[in-house]
Symmetry: C2
Subunit: 328 residues, 2 copies
Amino acid sequence: MSTRIGIIGYGNLGRGVECSIRQNDDMELVAVFTRRDPATVSILTETATVCHVDDVQNWKDKIDVMILCGGSATDLPEQTPEYAKYFNVVDSFDTHARIPEHFANVDEQAKAGNNVAIISVGWDPGMFSLNRLYANAILPQGSDYTFWGKGVSQGHSDALRRIEGVKNAKQYTIPVDSALEAVRSGSNPELTTRQKHTRECFVVLEEGADAARIENEIKTMPNYFSDYDTTVNFISEEELMANHSGIPHGGFVIRSGATGWENENKQIIEYSLKLDSNPEFTASTLIAYARAAHRLNTEGQNGCKTVFDIAPAYLSAKSGDVLRAEML
Amino acid sequence: MSTRIGIIGYGNLGRGVECSIRQNDDMELVAVFTRRDPATVSILTETATVCHVDDVQNWKDKIDVMILCGGSATDLPEQTPEYAKYFNVVDSFDTHARIPEHFANVDEQAKAGNNVAIISVGWDPGMFSLNRLYANAILPQGSDYTFWGKGVSQGHSDALRRIEGVKNAKQYTIPVDSALEAVRSGSNPELTTRQKHTRECFVVLEEGADAARIENEIKTMPNYFSDYDTTVNFISEEELMANHSGIPHGGFVIRSGATGWENENKQIIEYSLKLDSNPEFTASTLIAYARAAHRLNTEGQNGCKTVFDIAPAYLSAKSGDVLRAEML
């Protein structure tokens, strides 16, 4: 079964989805929808069309799954319910605290439209969530730890750029090795925010800006930096472009549990990601779940689902027979 | 929903299942079935009964899921199809090459009995298989690596004990650190058997046995040791009991993939286990999948399934609402 894909929103994530489709023989990119003038957007896939997002309803019978590549702050809360009326959809909604509300809104519209919607796909939420669930189900006695990095935090980089006198900046979140090792030892440490992660900033100053004032402003910024050991490096714009233009990320989900009649045996489950490109990895999970959305809808299912509700075999292009023979 | 569990076979795995049930409030151990004289088998759970395995059919209406804790060589190929006629069953069948045949046999009987059977549950096959599937679905371009250990290999320890002059022995499989690091670097190395694992043997000799002959016999044993760098340590029975009586194990599943229009970005997914008790961890996964088997059957499903076919939410005692709010 081949799946015809549409992409709404063509930023880093949308381009990542386009690249992932190219790696999957059963996937075809049909159209990219944009709020910009379509004539100004050039895509990589020669066989696909660029359209204005206002035309999306004309594509109802030509697209099996629409992948929503907007942002979680304002785009997806509106777009996912709206498009779930007309299409099977997959999104990467990542505002953890608002997932229950988003789920309810999307579920109502997906059921009304008899479509399948899969929300909060990616790695956190997404693969990290899955690993928390599996590990907790297997080891009900234990503690969960999540570490992020080493990787670029878009939100923290934006916070740096908003400071007066900062021309450009990148921020890396870095897990503390000694904290990771303590968790892996099974000692179940209680870790403060400061003990788990450090923050490293690379900042390009406007001409004549006061470096000392800016460094102090960064290190004392509440919520973003004041609770962390933060390092600030002032560099040139050229150096920032040359050495810090990637979007790497990753992290660790560890369950430190115990089994036995008296909980006498330690059991450690660890899942980790080391990603050169955060948006391309997220995009690759969106495509795997798009395959599942299409199949589930073809089987007659509808409504909103998350990674928790999808049997793993639905993600693979291979048949059950082949999966059992090759991967089990 | 509470699940009433029966255990068939009361060795290390059966005892592990009993311990896991104690950690799960929605699980109840009803009876343990044995081929031995029930009067000679004492279990830890005061509220459960020990019965002869010949009486198992009398328990059809008192047990929701039967957990089969026999061996894969001769017990499970007969037991799982047999009991799937009468009960929902879960097993840890781990002869990878014979899984398709086992699946077909169990599927036929489970469908005839309108029961759910979940086979090959544990960590390899089991959680390792799941991670291979997820990682391959997300990163279709890439290479898979599985390392085992550090841990006790029962099969290799048995092979040592069969050598003339060996009184007792334990064998540890140890992944080679430099191979693990090469894989984690994303260089996609081609690794020989010898480069991936070493084998460490702790051997207690019979009185008067020829140590040099035995060491040579071990190191040259085909299939088991000749393809590996093997270390042989001769120790006393006391030392073996004091330092090598545990059953630890674990390992690593790594997918080294690439994304991007020209596969230009490396993406590494790693899953690892560090287990003090191999059988208790396997038992804990059996109980999580027993919960799923009971629920799926209550929803009207039947037939044979594997970990690939079970949506993760079925493993947890928590509701979908709670899972989305707490773990997604």
